[in-house]
Amino acid sequence: MHPALQGLLTITSVVAVCFSYYYLSNWFLDNVFLPARGKYSNRNVNLANQIRPWLFLFPALTVLLVYLAYPVFETLRLSLTERHAYGDEWVGLANYAQMIKDQKFWEAVSNNMLWLAIVPAMSTGFGLLAAHLTDRIGWGNAAKSIIFMPMAISFVGAAVIWKLVYDARPIDQDQIGLLNALYLFFGGDAPQTWITKPFWNNLLLMVVLIWIQTGFAMVILSAALRNIPEETIEAAILDGSNPWQLFFRIKVPQIKGTILVVWTTITITVLKVFDIVFAMTNGHWNTQVLANYMFDKLFRANDWGVGSASVMVLMLLVTPILVWNVNNARKENQ
C-alpha cells in the first residue's frame, strides 16, 4: 500500500476510533454503568462525574506516560547497564566513568556551555532590539515578518542556507560564499574554510540558531512591550527621561518576567541543538555538542550505556528549568 494512502487511512480510522471512544465511553458510563435513574440516581450521577474526567484524560495520559515518562526511567536504567548478547548487565556508574574519560564528551560539554552563554543572550537581545524598533515605524509589521520567517525553516534547511554563506573557494577563483567575499573585500589575505576553523566555527554554527530564534524572541517581547501601561511611560517622559533611560529603566524592568521566559525557552532549545551541528560539521573540528555526541554513541557506536548516560546529563541540565516552570505553573493555578 502506498504510504500516503496508508496515512489517509490512519487519519480517518484514528479520528473515528477517537470519537467513538469518547462518545461510547461516556454513553456507557451514563446509561449502563451508572445510570441516572432508579433508587441510586443521585449517587450514580456524582460517581459518574468523578469518573468522567479520567475518560477524557485516559488516551492522552497513556500516550504521555508511555512516550515521555517511561523513557525517562528506562534511559536512567540503560545508563546503568551494559548491553550484552546474553542480556543486560548492571554495571553501576561504569558508563558514566567511561564517558567522563572521553575527551569528546568534555568537548561537547564545553561547547554546550559556550552555546548556552551566547545564543540565548544574543537571540533575546536582538529580539528585544527588533521588537522595540519595529514598533516605532509604519512598515514594522512587514519587517517583523521577515525577521520571524526563519522560524518556519527547518534547522537542516538553515544549515544549507548558511553553508552557502560560509563556502570557501581556492584563492584564484571567485568566492561564492558571502562571508569569504566580504572577508576578502575588507582586506582578508586568503579565503578561509570557516567551518573547519576551531572556535570560530562554533560561533558560526551559533549564528544559525540565533538567526532562527531571534524572531521568536521578538514576537513575544513585542507583545510584552505593548502591554506596558502607558501611564508609566508618560510619567517618565514628563519627568524628562531620554529614550535610553525610558527603554532601559522603565520598559525593560517591566517586562523582566517575559524576558526570563524567552531566555529559558531558548536555553532549552539550545541544550537540545542537534540538527544544525549534525548537518554542518557532524561534530568535527571541535564543534561537538551533547545532543550530537549522544546520537553518535547511540546510533553509530551502538553504545546505549554511554549514550544514555549523556542523555541523563542533558536531562540534568534541563532539570532546573523544569522545576522553575512547574513551580510557576503551580503558583498560577492557586
Binding site: 484524560l57 524598533l133 552557502l164 542537534f274 516552570n325
Partner: protein, 393 residues
Amino acid sequence: MLARRTNKGIVMDNLVGHKSSLRWTVHISVAVLVILWLIPTLGLLVSSFRTADQISTSGWWQALVTTEQNLIMRTAKPQAQQIIDGKYVIEGMLFSSEKSPAIQAWGVSSIAIDDYIPGETAKLRKGGEISLRGDGYYRMASDKPFKGSRGTRVFVKASMPPEFTLDNYRNVLFDPDNVSGMAKAFLSTLTVAIPATIIPILIAAFAAYALAWMQFPGRALLVAFIVGLLVVPLQMALIPLLKLHMQIGIGKGFLGVWLAHTGFGLPLAIYLLRNYMVGLPKDIIENSRIDGATDFQIFMKIILPLSFPALAAFSIFQFLWTWNDLLVAKVFLFDSSGQTVVMTAKLVELLGSKGGNWEILATSAFVSIVVPLIVFFTLQKYLVRGLLTGSVK
C-alpha cells in the same frame, strides 16, 4: 480609547518626533536587521535558479548583472583522445551548459591566463597544441598520445550575462530517474507530517477540556506534570521507544513516527489548548450545564468551535515541527530500503555526498523550505497568537 491614542501620539512625538535624526536611525537600523535576516535565504533562492557553472564560478549576488570572470575549466580526460590523420586529438566543448559565456581571452598557464584570444592556438607545456573558439569549442592535437588521468586546465576570461533557469527544479522534482530522490522524499515528509499533526490535536483537546473545565482531585498536579514534560528532551525517548516499537511489532516505519510525534507534541498541545480553554466565558458553559447538556455535548458543540484559534495555532506548530524534524524521522522511520527518507534526512545526505553540487543542494533545500514558508506567511496570525498563549500570561 481615542484619548489614549492621542496621548500615545504626544508621547511618540516627544520621544522621536522632534528628533528626526533619531527617527532615521530607527528606520535604518530596522532596514539593516531585515537585510541581514533576509540575505542568507535570498542567496539560496537565487542560487537555485542558476546553472551549476554559474553557481560554482561566481557569487549569487553577481547573478543580476553581466560580469567578467576568470574561470578555470578542464578539457576532457586523455582517455577521450582519438587518432585523426595520424594525430592524437581531443575535442569538445569547454562548458557543459547550452549557452556558454562569451570568451574574451584565454590561456593555458596560471601565470598568463589571458595570453590568447579566441581562435588562436597555444602550445601545451607537455607537448602538442590547443585551439579554442569563442563559443567554447576546443581542439587539442599532438603527435604523441596525451597521458595522465585528468584533463588539461584552460584559463578563460569571459563575460557572463545574467541568466536564470528552471532546470534545477525540473531535475530535482520531475527527473524520472529521481537521482536526487527529492520527489519521493517530499511525499514521505507529507505522509509523516499530516497524521502526526491531526492525531495529537484530537487527543489533546479532550484532555485539555478535562483539565480546564472539570473538577476532580489531582487536577493541579496533572497540569504541573504536563508543564514538566514540556521541557523533557526528546533525546530521552529515542532508545526506550525504539526498543518498545521493536518489541510490540511496530518496528521502524510511518506508524512509529506518527506515534512518536504524537507523544512528543502532546504536552505542548494540552498546555496550549488548556490555557486557551480556561479563558473561555464561564457563563456559556455553566448555562448549558444547567440546561442539561452533558460534558461530551458541551465539548463538541461549544468548546471545540470556540477554541478554533488555539487549535489552528497548535496545528501550525506541530505541522512545522513534524515537517522540519530530522531526529525523530532518522530514528523511527529510516529503514534499510531507503524508500522512506524524509526531505531533511535527504538534505543532510546531499550535504555530505554532494557538498559541492550547489545547484542540487540549493534547489532541494528550497523545495523542502517552501511549504513551511507558505504555511508561515498565510497563517502567521494564528502562529503569533499561539506563541503568546504558550509563553506569556
